[in-house]
Subunit: 212 residues, 2 copies
């Protein structure tokens, strides 16, 4: 059965981006450090076109979250900033000419737009809400899993809808003290089941099933 799954890195105080995100700090001040555990991995470096890297207990987590993915869903903010599609220079996103996804990506947005092809990745813009995006992504994934890439708002909406089958939360050993919290606006009606807890050298990895 195809799953909707996510993995996300947060600080010990629960932020997935730090304070004052912008051009200088896309992930907010200090936010890059949340992902150090992944940047070190051979499993992260290879699909990003870089050599070397480690194999350590975090590798299993990274592969579990990223393998067998046939489509991706993300919020508009994660696709990237810039002016809207009505502009003469419509937003091209933050992912460059060769985004790492290489599967169809469904972007939650309020603005209709034709699909955007970047390298091996096509971004589809979905204005009909999260359930429609999930249905389209599942169809595009052809039986593989759908990865929910973020950000916080999109994840909170899918959690509240009871649609998240697997959630890896990678807890980096640092405090950001501000920014956007992953788990705000979500309440006790979301049943969680602890599936795993793994000690990586640079993060603790907690896996949950989320029931509606």
């Amino acid at each position: 059965m195809a799953k909707l799954k996510l993995q996300i890195s947060v600080s010990l105080d629960g932020y997935l981006t730090g304070p004052n995100p912008g051009e200088e700090h896309p992930l907010g001040e200090g936010g890059e450090a949340l992902h150090e555990w992944a940047f070190k991995l051979a499993a992260w470096r290879e699909p990003h076109g870089r050599e070397g890297g480690e194999v350590n207990p975090s590798t299993e987590v990274f592969e579990d979250a990223t393998e067998n993915v046939g489509a991706v869903i993300m919020g508009r903010g994660m696709f990237g900033g810039g002016p809207g599609p009505w502009s003469e220079d419509p937003w091209q996103g933050w992912w460059g000419d060769e985004p790492p996804f290489k599967v169809p990506v469904f972007v939650l947005t309020h603005h209709e737009r034709e699909p955007l092809v970047k390298g091996e990745t096509t971004f589809h813009f979905v204005t009909e809400g999260i359930e429609s995006a999930l249905a389209q992504a599942k169809e595009a994934a052809s039986g593989k899993d759908v990865a929910l890439a973020g950000g916080a708002d999109a994840i909170q909406q899918y959690l509240a809808a009871g649609e998240v089958d697997e959630m890896w939360i990678n807890v980096a050993p640092l405090l950001l003290g501000g920014g956007t919290r992953l788990l705000d606006n979500v309440g006790p009606e979301i049943g969680l089941e602890q599936v795993r807890a793994i000690e990586g050298p640079d993060a603790a990895h907690l896996k949950y099933r989320a029931a509606g």
Copy 2:
């Protein structure tokens, strides 16, 4: 070297008490469930005068945090509610006639008061601030560790002061959606070092060193 150490149970969204704490729900709505992992343990039940219980991977965590403790520090709210000492019926705390500590307890407060003896536990009321309380507790502990019992405000103050040597955060697989967050008002200036991550059957246990 005697350490200041703490262990605290939080929800996945980071709350150590749920919404609307009061007579009916001392730990807030849903807050009791944060401690289920401990209530099941033989290591918790024995000092609380109860029989039975489990030995599982959480036992090591519970014992690491509770063994070799020679004194306890807590905030006024954790000592317990009720009218102040100027009342005809001064507050006796929430811990009954036989509190489980059985070592000197130092309560951070703004109100001077003579020590209060309850069973094998004496509560000392410290009005000179956190550093004074820590010095008094270390002296009383005679070389053993000092446990910081909570609540959030006291923990945040000691973290900000760089005085927490060991911190076990027990993450219960549930969302509270409101209440008091453990890690608010603390920022990136507090350096954390991840020491352990242990998968218990009913909680994930994360241990950190906190540097100033």
